[in-house]
Symmetry: C2
Subunit: 192 residues, 2 copies
DNA sequence: CAGTTCAATTGACATATGTCACAAAATTCA
DNA sequence: TGAATTTTGTGACATATGTCAATTGAACTG
C-alpha cells in the first residue's frame, strides 16, 4: 500500500519543492509500519535509529521522572516523530514514544538518511528545515511552560491544539503543560 | 584584527572538519563587531537578519511579558547567538538581545549565509548541526522548566552553568529559571 | 566622596497549586 | 452484559511561591 508514501510526499512538498524523481529514488529507503494503540515506537534506553513520518494516528513522547510519566510532545498525523537526540547523536533515548491511537507511519533509518545525504543535497536541506521547525516548536513550548498560570497554559493549549484535548487523556495533557492531574481537572470544571 | 575570526574558525572546527580554504573563502562575508555593555544586538520588533558568533563577552535574550522582562537565554563567548526564528523566517523578532558585558562578535547576514549555501554544501551541514545543537538546548530547557521546584531548578543551573551566577544579575537568572526574584533570593539564602 | 540610582534581600501575607484520599464516571475486556 | 480496571473529578489540607512593601547593600555619576 503506497498511500502513506504519497502522504509523505505531499508533506515534504509543503516544505520544499522537489523533483518527482528525487523523491521516487528515495522511496526504496522508506518503510511503512503499523503501530497498534499502546504499542511503542521506541523505549527509553533503546537507541532510536529511525525517524517516522506519521501518515495516520497519534503518538506521545514521555519520560519518567521519579516514577511519574512526563509527556513532552504529542505527534499527530502529517508530522514527524522521533527521539531526535538519540537519532541524531546515536545515543540511548531518554524518552519513550508510544502510539495513542492505531497509527501508520513511514520510517527512515539514520543509516538510510546518511545514504540520502550522499545521493542528493536536498535531503540535507530538508533535514535542516525540519530541525528548524522542531526548534521553533521547542522554544514555543519553553515559553509556554515558564511564567504562565495553569489556567493560561490550558487556555493556550485549547487555542493552539484543541484537537489534542479530544484525542489525548487528560492526565497526559496535565504533565504536558506542567500541572498536576487534579489541578487541570479543577481548571476544566471552572471553565465550563 | 582577525583574532575573533580565528576563534570562529576553531569553533567550527569542533563541529565539523573543514578545509582551510573553504573557511577562508567565506571570511569576506564575516564582519567583526563590538558591543559595549548594555548595547543591543537586536530589538523586539526588528527583523534580525544576522547571526553572531561571540568571540568575547556575554549576551542575554529576553522578551516582555506584561511589562516584565523574561530572560530565555544567556549566550557567552564561543557560542552562537541570534533571534533564530526571526533570522530563519525573516519575520520581526519577538525577543531582544542585549550585551551584558563588553563583547566582540563575528556576524554573518542571512543574505550572505544564503550565498555560502550556494558556494558549498558544508555550510548547509553546519547550519543543520548548529540548529540541532539549539534543539537540544531548548529541550533541556523545557525539561528544566517543567516539574522542578525552584530549588531544583537553581541547583541544576549551579551544576550546569555555574559561571552564569557570577556573570549575570540574579534578577535575570530568576526569570530564566521561571521563578520570582524574591523566591530565588530566599533559595540562595537557604543554600548558604 | 556624597548622593543618587539600581539591585538584592527580607518580612508579612495571600493564593495557586500539589498531595493524599476517596468517589464517580468511563473504558476495557472477558 | 457485567465486573474489573482505568481515568477523571472533588474535598480537605499543607506548602511552595508570588506579590507588595520596606530595608539594606552595591554600583554608578558628577
Amino acid at each position: 500500500m503506497v498511500k502513506e508514501i504519497e502522504n509523505f510526499r505531499d508533506y515534504l512538498a509543503q516544505i520544499i519543492s522537489m523533483d518527482k524523481e528525487t523523491f521516487d529514488i528515495a522511496i526504496k529507503y522508506f518503510e511503512a509500519e503499523h503501530f497498534a494503540r499502546n504499542e511503542y515506537f521506541v523505549h527509553e534506553g533503546q537507541s532510536c535509529n529511525r525517524i517516522a513520518y506519521i501518515s495516520k494516528g497519534l503518538f506521545r513522547i514521555y519520560y519518567l521522572k521519579e516514577g511519574n510519566e512526563i509527556n513532552t510532545c504529542f505527534c499527530k498525523e502529517n508530522s514527524i516523530t522521533s527521539s531526535f537526540n538519540s537519532f541524531i547523536n546515536h545515543i540511548p533515548s531518554t524518552e519513550t514514544i508510544q502510539a495513542l491511537e492505531d497509527s501508520v507511519v513511514v520510517t527512515l533509518s539514520s543509516e538510510n538518511l546518511g545514504k540520502l545525504f550522499r545521493e542528493s543535497d536536498i535531503w540535507q536541506t530538508i533535514s535542516r528545515l525540519l530541525t528548524e521547525k522542531e526548534c521553533l516548536r521547542l522554544s514555543e513550548r519553553a515559553g509556554l511552560l515558564s511564567f504562565e498560570t495553569a489556567l493560561e497554559k490550558y487556555k493556550n493549549l485549547l487555542k493552539n491544539q484543541p484537537e489534542l484535548i479530544q484525542r489525548v487523556p487528560i492526565q497526559y495533557i496535565a504533565s504536558y503543560i506542567g500541572v498536576s492531574r487534579e489541578t487541570l481537572s479543577r481548571i476544566r470544571a471552572k471553565i465550563r
